[in-house]
Amino acid sequence: MQKTVKQKMMALAGDQAVAYAVKQSDVDVVAAYPITPQTIIVEKFSEYVANGEVETEFVCVESEHSAMTASLAASVTGARTFTATASAGLALMHEMLFVTSGCRAPVVMAIANRALSAPLNIHGDHSDSMAQRDSGWIQLYAENAQEAYDSIIQAFRIGENLNVLLPVMVGLDGFTLSHTLENVEVLPDETVKEFVGVRKFPDVLTHNGKTAPFRLDPANPMTMGPIALQNYYFEFKRQQEEAMEHAVNVIQQVNSEYAKISGRSYGNGLIENYRLEDAEVAAVCLGSTAGTMKTVVDGLRQNGVKAGLLRLRTFRPLPVEEIRSAVANVKALAVMDKCISFGGNGGPVFNAFRHLLYEEANHPHIVNYIYGLGGRDTSPSDLRSIYETLQELLQTGHVEKPIRYLGLRS
């Protein structure tokens, strides 16, 4: 195995870790607008620009809508492009998220996950990015600041992969990760620069019959973002779905390649299984909750409970086969959603899990826990209670209330 490079330990909050990763990733254009709890990312990056530490064109736009549009336009012009937002900002980008993925522009975006109004709330939950589930973006969720740093670097490699060419959002829990100082190991600048490389473009057929790199270039005129009607639109959309399918492999490759230089990997890049091999009762969660959950699982294991955890790192593309085999022996599964899907009979992660397990002959009992909305604290004892419920469920053999609320005032 290749020897990992010597790394530097820095005390960074999640947002700072993201900004640092962007600084190292040879990003050409950053177009962004401030919103809590993402602000530190743009503030920190502005400092890098002001101090001449980056070769990046920083476009301080007048709205998130323009942040996404300028990012998309810069990306199709050939620039490696980054932006960041949260909550209402992401909601304002909604229209352009689809255009960005539809134009196959591999923009990378950090989301400091935050609740949506109303009522106004600046704290962490996953309502913002879950609402963009079907926008054609790859979605990764980080467990800690270290992973936020690592995932941003990886995201450029994933999105820009010629078999993928999709935008990537990396979620980090608002405040819990964005504003909390952690020890973060950072790679040397040149290592990151080498890892991300210079952006490549696929050769495509131009309308004057030549093949040329897929970008806006006066030497090879190309019409991008055209109108495509009943006769072509559908094929464009199917190609995006194929790109998502390719991303399943690419995310794993990038995860293992990154592990070789850094010594850090996140499961297979798609899911991280924690004490899951022989688990009878298991939970599924995204993001920072997993950190607490791992401690809870350890405690339960000490008491002889066969508890496990599946942390979903990649929500889009949904790693269907990987999840199926990971939970093959689990008897009762609790799926946690830091998001509510009104009238949807359970949260988005729960519904994804229930549907992918439908055809499994011995699928586990499955319950949904909606939790942590608007930054509501989730304690280890709350999390422990989930496993207790799962154990009861194993005794009784049936699920009375499949959709439950954790830590909700009664």
Partner: protein, 325 residues
């Protein structure tokens, strides 16, 4: 090649290859299509074009066909200026990093009145405030024509549209046209101009000036729409002359805030007796038909009055107030 060197003679224009190509699906008599073709003839070198959703975007890019011989990007309705911001930023840094070969690439954003006065205004204002080097061209056909003639902030007072119909109680659009070019001048931008395709040389020269100026430039171009105006498709260019002669749409330019009448309007200022009544321009357009009924007499007079007031105001701004009224 600078503006001075470029003569824009008919011969030179004819010899220069088109960049907005034939085969697009614009309607007969489409003003915007003529405007785009002329402006693309006025470009000076490598150019990237971006367009807002709208008539010119849908007629020119129906996949797998295109009318664009230059790189072209469309993303959404309200995004012409933010597209230009991103393209310009990318070009700037990629040139610095030697990742593109061109020394300079011009960026033009085209948008209709909806994409400029209304939904695209925030992005436009922001892009101008940030000082991106691009030319924003508003082709103003005075309503949401692509979606079927709905009123916009650019629709003139009294015009009937499908969302401001001339009814028995309400006589068409009650509100006044937003003075968009003045608003852009107020941004303190280096170059703002208005133009009309009848005065093709004036239009092309202004487009070229807008490209040559460093920083943002805004060009407001009058662009008749026979479908939406319920006018004769053979009269579009004639209306673009009458609009200037009646001072409904005067042509002028502002260089670093210094406002100056352009020749076609200056001639009207110098010979006020030649200034045509607005009725000459309005009649024949179906959207104004109701104004010529006896009960609309007052409204017609009001339109004349407002036009005169705005003209006086412009003359003053251009230092021509002593010339005429």
């Amino acid at each position: 090649m600078t503006t001075q060197e470029w003569k824009f003679t008919a011969k030179e224009i004819a010899e220069k290859p088109d960049l907005f190509l034939a085969g697009h699906r614009a309607c007969a008599g489409c003003g915007p299509a003529t405007v785009l073709r002329l402006i693309m003839k006025a470009t000076r070198g490598p150019t990237i074009v971006t367009e807002a959703t709208g008539c010119m975007e849908v007629v020119s890019s129906i996949y797998p066909y295109t009318s664009w011989a230059v790189p072209w990007l469309h993303t959404a309705f309200e995004t012409a200026a933010s597209n230009a911001s991103g393209i310009e930023a990318a070009l700037k840094i990629m040139r610095k990093k030697r990742r593109i070969s061109q020394e300079h690439v011009d960026v033009i954003a085209f948008a209709g009145d909806g994409g400029t006065f209304d939904i695209g205004f925030q992005a436009l204002s922001g892009a101008v405030e940030r000082g991106h080097d691009f030319l924003f061209v508003l082709y103003d056909n005075e309503a949401y024509m692509n979606t079927g003639i709905q009123r916009s902030g650019g629709t003139p007072h009294g015009a009937a549209t499908t969302t401001s119909p001339a009814g028995t109680v309400i006589p068409g659009k009650l509100e006044y046209k937003k003075p968009i070019a003045d608003i852009m001048v107020a941004h303190g931008m280096p170059y703002v101009a208005t133009a009309s395709p009848y005065y093709w040389k004036d239009l092309m020269t202004k487009a070229r000036k807008g490209l040559e100026v460093e920083g943002p430039a805004f060009l407001h171009v009058f662009a008749p729409c026979p479908r939406g105006w319920r006018s004769n498709p053979t009269k579009s260019i004639e209306y673009s002359k009458l609009a200037v002669e009646s001072c409904i749409f005067p042509v002028w330019e502002s260089v670093n805030g210094h406002c100056k009448l352009s020749t076609p309007s200056r001639l009207v200022a110098l010979a006020p007796q030649k200034k045509k009544p607005v009725a000459d321009y309005l009649k024949g357009q179906g959207r104004f038909r109701h104004l010529f009924k006896p009960k609309s007499k007052q409204l017609l007079e009001e339109i004349q009055h407002i036009t005169d007031e705005r003209w006086k105001c412009l003359l003053k701004k251009c230092g021509e107030s002593k010339t005429s009224v």
